[in-house]
């Protein structure tokens, strides 16, 4: 099994330095085929363009929704890696998004 690389640059609005919004997150999830790739590849590498300044949790929640629900928090972080050479530090936003997805999932199933 190989690694599947998603270049966020391919889904970027021209000139924008941020990824925001649930709608955009859903769109990138579908266009990047992350939900299918996660089963057929050992790792998912998400490459963040160097000049990106922010990726909001609302975007990440929709983008990663199915993967997080499928793998849970611990395995998600083993399976999905971030390639980030810019100044923006994504870790806290990803953790917030993952926690929110899992909370949402619990709220729906209780």
């Amino acid at each position: 099994m190989s690694d599947y690389v998603i270049h966020l640059q391919d889904f970027r609005t021209e000139g924008s330095k941020v990824f925001t919004g649930r709608d955009r997150g859903r769109e990138v999830r579908e266009k990047s085929h992350i939900d299918f790739a996660v089963d057929k590849n050992q790792n998912i590498i998400i490459d963040i363009p160097q000049d990106i300044r922010s990726i909001n949790p609302s975007f990440l929640e929709e983008f990663l929704y199915n993967v997080v629900r499928k793998f849970g928090k611990e395995n998600f972080f083993k399976k999905v890696k971030w390639n980030n050479s810019g100044r923006y530090q994504i870790t806290s936003d990803v953790v917030e998004a993952v926690d929110s997805i899992l909370r949402d999932n619990n709220a729906l199933t209780t």
Binding site: S58, D93, A107
Partner: protein
């Protein structure tokens, strides 16, 4: 040859007289039978009428009683619903709203205060990373302390949490996008107010409207 009763009555007239007498007797019997049948019929008819009248009366009484019981049950149900609603509202107020009012007000004050961090017309990489981190931390803290507790009442009012979450997320998206947008001169207080301050104020009002309209 048939003999008459006397010399004046011929034998034929005696036969006829017997026949008429018999007819009169039979007629009396028929009338008596008819009277008896009619009396039975009248008794039966009257009895039936009485039973029907009684049944109608009982039905009417039952219907009235049933309506009254239904009305009482409905009134009781409404009263119980109203009581349950009051209790839920009280819990919402005591457990969720009041403990977080300070968080709510502080968040919007701190969000407005980011204009004091925007001291230069444009931001260099280090400044924009700093402001992004500040905005991200403010929203993250607010979502954890204010928004997350609202999720527990989502089961009884599915739109309440999602409506407020959408307002908060839209504001976060707007503020993040705008503070990092180099085309705005955000250290100018008027420009900050027009582009960010108004959105902050509108979002605050919309959250307050959603809370006031809250109906479990």
């Amino acid at each position: 040859m048939i003999e008459g009763c006397c010399s004046q009555c011929p034998a034929e007239s005696i036969g006829t007289a017997l026949t008429l007498s018999d007819a009169a007797d039979w007629a009396q019997v028929a009338i008596a039978v008819f009277n008896a049948i009619f009396a039975i019929y009248l008794f039966w008819f009257q009895n039936r009428q009485n039973k029907e009248a009684l049944k109608r009366e009982v039905d009417n009484t039952n219907a009235t009683l049933a309506r009254e019981r239904l009305f009482q049950a409905e009134t009781l149900r409404r009263e119980n619903d109203a009581k349950a609603k009051d209790i839920k509202l009280q819990w919402f107020k005591e457990l969720i709203l009041l403990p977080n009012i300070e968080t709510f007000n502080k968040f919007f004050e701190e969000l407005n205060d980011i204009q004091h961090v925007l001291i230069t017309p444009t931001l260099d990489d280090s400044q924009s990373a700093g402001i992004e981190k500040l905005v991200s931390e403010l929203f993250s803290k607010f979502k954890l302390n204010f928004l997350q507790p609202l999720q527990v009442i989502d089961a009884s009012n599915p739109n309440f949490f999602h409506d407020i979450r959408t307002i908060v997320e839209d504001l976060e998206d707007d503020v993040t996008r705008l503070v990092l947008d180099e085309t705005f001169v955000l250290n100018n207080s008027d420009e900050f107010y027009q582009n960010i301050g108004l959105r902050i104020s509108r979002a605050k009002n919309n959250i307050l409207i959603a809370i006031i309209k809250f109906d479990n």
